[in-house]
């Protein structure tokens, strides 16, 4: 346990002058408002604030394809009409409008996340915050959902230089598809996303069945939710899943995307979370005492975003904020009450208890696989297996229910974890080519 966390915040005043275009729900001005509220609450006295370096195209190319980065660099609103093919190819122009200073905007927010990750790596700080970052939809070769450069992927890649495993958690109302896709094949990054799923809600991915592939199989967890989920069920679900994941996966660092569009009353969202509920997730993650990179994300009702991220900055600084927002330039945005909390949402909660419990147990199911996947795989003959099994039986209580397999098999693998929890699994292949996976049970050290 560290005595006192060092916290770094990243901010660049230039984001205030970024304008996505009329009627575009994404307004970087919310970052100004957030920063202003943070300062109004005097939170800057408890942390360091950094100006980010503007990331270079070559840094983008760590993840993005060179042609895409080059195009992003080149395109301006004045030259739009010359590149209709490329615009379609890179999915620019609609959701992802091309505006003045687009590339500079990308450089600022991506630079912030990269800087934050590097600071965590070099350990001058324990928690790094970049509210400008968290644009989780951007893909390797195209923009998507208001996101151009995927700063989260770049940040995680940076963290992977120092950490064997990184956990990515996404509480944006939208699925964190860009990050999941980028790390779909790797077991070095586990992505967990809580999001609205169904009704053709953007981006359409994030089914509970998407669990990763190849080495990355079981290293992507999706928690699809329905409209109107409330604080209690959300935080319960979050806690049970995340604590299990951290226990099983034992990440070296955590990246938390705090999209504020999961709050009640968001222009694009459809959940009923209060700021307290949203921040509770941050508290849960903070309690693991792991290097933590916190980014922003979605959030399309500006004043609620500012409230939320200010409150969460306070939470990360272990500071309780008074509910009245101190007078500042933007106080009128928070009028008439000028309070830090937001009205309750009135969207009907479509997440039934049974639905949530099924989701929960399903996600846990993947986790067991994920854990056992890390384990060494032993190939052994039948009598070995039986003797191991019997020894384990003596050692501890093992569920026998799984031991009902057809033992007419020749090849099988046993997976065993040697660290925290011993999970014993038998994978057999019958003569017809059917694969049986049996979980024998798990033994904890106690």
């Amino acid at each position: 346990m560290r005595s006192k966390e060092k916290i770094s915040n990243f901010y660049d005043g230039d984001v205030g002058s970024i304008y996505f275009g009329p009627n575009h729900p994404m307004k970087p001005h919310r970052l100004c408002m957030t920063h202003h509220s943070v300062l109004a609450y005097d939170l800057h006295k408890k942390m360091e604030i950094y100006r980010t370096h503007k990331a270079y195209p070559v840094e983008f190319a760590q993840f993005h394809s060179a042609d895409y980065v080059e195009f992003l660099h080149r395109i301006t609103p004045d030259t739009l009409h010359l590149f209709s093919n490329e615009l379609a190819k890179y999915n620019l122009g609609e959701d992802c409008s091309v505006f003045e200073n687009l590339f500079e905007f990308c450089q600022i927010y991506a630079g912030g996340t990269i800087d934050a990750a590097r600071r965590l790596n070099n350990q001058p700080c324990d928690i790094a915050i970049n509210w400008a970052g968290g644009l989780h939809h951007a893909k390797k070769c195209e923009a998507s959902g208001f996101c151009y450069v995927n700063d989260l992927v770049l940040g995680i890649l940076e963290l992977l230089k120092y950490h064997a495993r990184v956990l990515f958690i996404d509480i944006d109302v939208h699925h964190g598809d860009g990050v999941e896709e980028a790390f779909y094949f790797t077991d070095r990054v586990m992505t967990v996303s809580f999001h609205k799923y169904g009704d053709m809600f953007f981006p359409g991915t994030g089914d509970v069945k998407d669990i990763g592939e190849r080495e990355g199989k079981f290293y992507a967890i999706n928690v699809p939710l329905k409209d109107g989920i409330d604080d209690t069920s959300y935080t319960r679900l979050f806690k049970s899943i995340i604590s299990k994941v951290v226990e099983m996966y034992q990440p070296g660092a955590i990246v938390l995307q705090c999209g504020a569009d999961s709050l009640a009353g968001d222009r694009l969202g459809c959940f009923n979370l209060s700021i307290d509920g949203h921040a509770e997730c941050v508290i849960i993650v903070k309690k693991f005492n792991l290097p933590l990179l916190v980014t922003g994300g979605g959030g399309y009702t500006k004043e609620n975003v500012a409230r939320c991220w200010t409150f969460e900055t306070g939470v990360l600084l272990d500071t309780e904020l008074p509910i009245e927002i101190p007078e500042n330039e933007y106080i009128k945005y928070f009028a008439p009450e000028c309070l830090l909390n937001i009205p309750n949402g009135h969207i009907e909660n479509l997440n039934s208890k049974s639905y949530l419990s099924t989701i929960r147990s399903r996600c846990k199911c993947w986790k067991i696989f994920a854990a056992s996947n890390m384990l060494q795989v032993y190939r052994c003959k039948m009598f070995h297996l039986i003797s191991i099994f019997l020894i384990l039986m003596k050692m501890s209580k093992i569920r026998m229910s799984a031991w009902t397999s057809t033992l007419k098999t020749s090849k099988f693998n046993v997976m065993m974890n040697t660290t925290m929890v011993t999970t014993i699994m038998i994978i057999t292949r019958t003569c017809e080519g059917r694969l049986h996976i049996f979980l024998l049970g798990s033994i904890s050290p106690q």
Binding site: G16, P22, N23, E94, D95, T358
Partner: protein
Amino acid sequence: MVTNGAALDCVEIVNKCGTMGGHLDVDNVGKDLEQFGDNKDRLRCLFDLVLSGYLKEVTWKGLFRPMPAMLGNDGQSLDLLKLFLVVREIGGYELVSNEGLWAFVVKELGLGFQVLASVKLIYAKYLYELEKWLRSNLEDRKEDNACGGNFGFLTLEQEKDFRGLFANRIGRQGVVNKVALIEYRKHKKFIGKDSKNGVGVSDTNSRFRLQDRVGKVYGDDAENECRKEFSTRKRKRKSLSEMLSWVMLVAKCHDDPSVREILEPSKWINHKGDEFWIQAIRAREALRQKRDGHSVIEQSPLQKNQEMHPSMYDDDFLNHHFTEKLRCSERLSRSNSCSCSHCSSGSTFDSQLMCLHRTHSECGPKELSSIAIDLSSLDTSMTVEPYGDDIFRRQVAVGPRFQAEVPEWTGPVSDSDSKWLGTRQWPLSGGEYDSLAITDPIGSRQPNSCSCQIPNSVECIRFHIAENRMKLKLELGSLFYHWRFDGMGEEVSLRWTAEEEKKFKHMVQLESPSLNAFWPRASEFFPEKTWQDLISYYFNVFLIRRRSYQNRVTPKSIDSDDDESEFGCISDSFGSYALKVPGSNTLTCSQNNQCIDLELDEH
């Protein structure tokens, strides 16, 4: 394999699509039938198909036979299959009637003697015709002695297969029944009735073989047809929600007249209509296919977790997606603006499709084999296409154009470019940092300590804002400008002349409700202002004024992010005026001005 699957599916069709209501009372199936084990359901299915097909024909002739068959008034349903089998076993309706074996039949069915008459009646009404029909068909078949007639669809191999299967099955059943029958006949003889033994089991067998074949033809072709139809009409799902409610209705009240329409599987083949039942059957088919494709997951749930069968999700998904299907696929759909959100759902959809296909072609088969689901059950001719709700499920794209390159973990990498850690701006370094300012507690808004004449009045708040601003400026020093605090808040308006402000407001109003036309030309209107100036003015002055107006006039429905709403309510001189001449009178005036302004604008 396919045929087997088809037959089993028939069971599902029959069960799921509602006929299951009462007359297939599985629990009442007697012990003789239980011997069939796995084949029981299959047999039942085939029987149902034949019976229903036949009854349909009868209905067409004008005879109406309600299903399920009920015994008497107490609503007890009768297991027709069992009844049929028992009677067949003995030797047919005539034989049973002549010999007076109905009591035996009733006993075999596990029923009381009081329903003897009803049972006999039901047999006469429902099954006697069928019995005759089958017999005559068999005769036809013998005469034809070719793959013609009603059973032309069947290949010789399949026919043989079924013959073998069925002979075996009936044979086994026959033994048991025969013993019982002989017992009974002895008993009957003892009573004094003459018995007329003679109907061999082999005869029964052949008839059953025939029956089986008929059913098989129906089932198989129906399935093929369903598949074909579904694949060509993936996108046509207009009345799916209605279909689902229909399925629910059927499940609830199976004796609804519309239900009976399903019972004509022979017509599936040529069915061109879009009735609910055929949709339901196709949907079921699609789900089944999907499940095949996704048995990756199906296999995975651990033994102990089997109660959460993935089909739960399927149903759920179906419901959820199809009933509320067209909420538009892109992200801006919920905002009421359309001008910037003309993201063509068509192209999104197409790319989605492409993505689906790509995924399937690239990793699908490989994935399947590596997971090694029961490969033998997947017929190779069956293409695993994204059917049903899969079309709505966007899959994760895989390939070198999508995934990040993650190196193997070999221990911490010493990073050479540690210079890019950002530039520390706060706390300030060196002499610039003035520690005097940091004495107040966090969140130093203290309403009680306010020394203003009227606390919380407009000018009080304005005063405190200015006060805090000055404090912050002192505290931050040059950082104040780095963070663009000089360009925040309504002070921005001080850099604008009243003339310019008026012009800005006018321009925005002119282009209202959509700003689309304004912003591209904004720099033309204000050549002396930079883009940043305009944005800054828009967010720091224009929107705040609108917001403060909203706070007073419509505090219940504030949406500062709504660019579309009317801008007519902003006083043209409020900001700079109030900033320059603070005082309650002027403020009242300016408020009044706004209201007047509003009225003027409306006219």
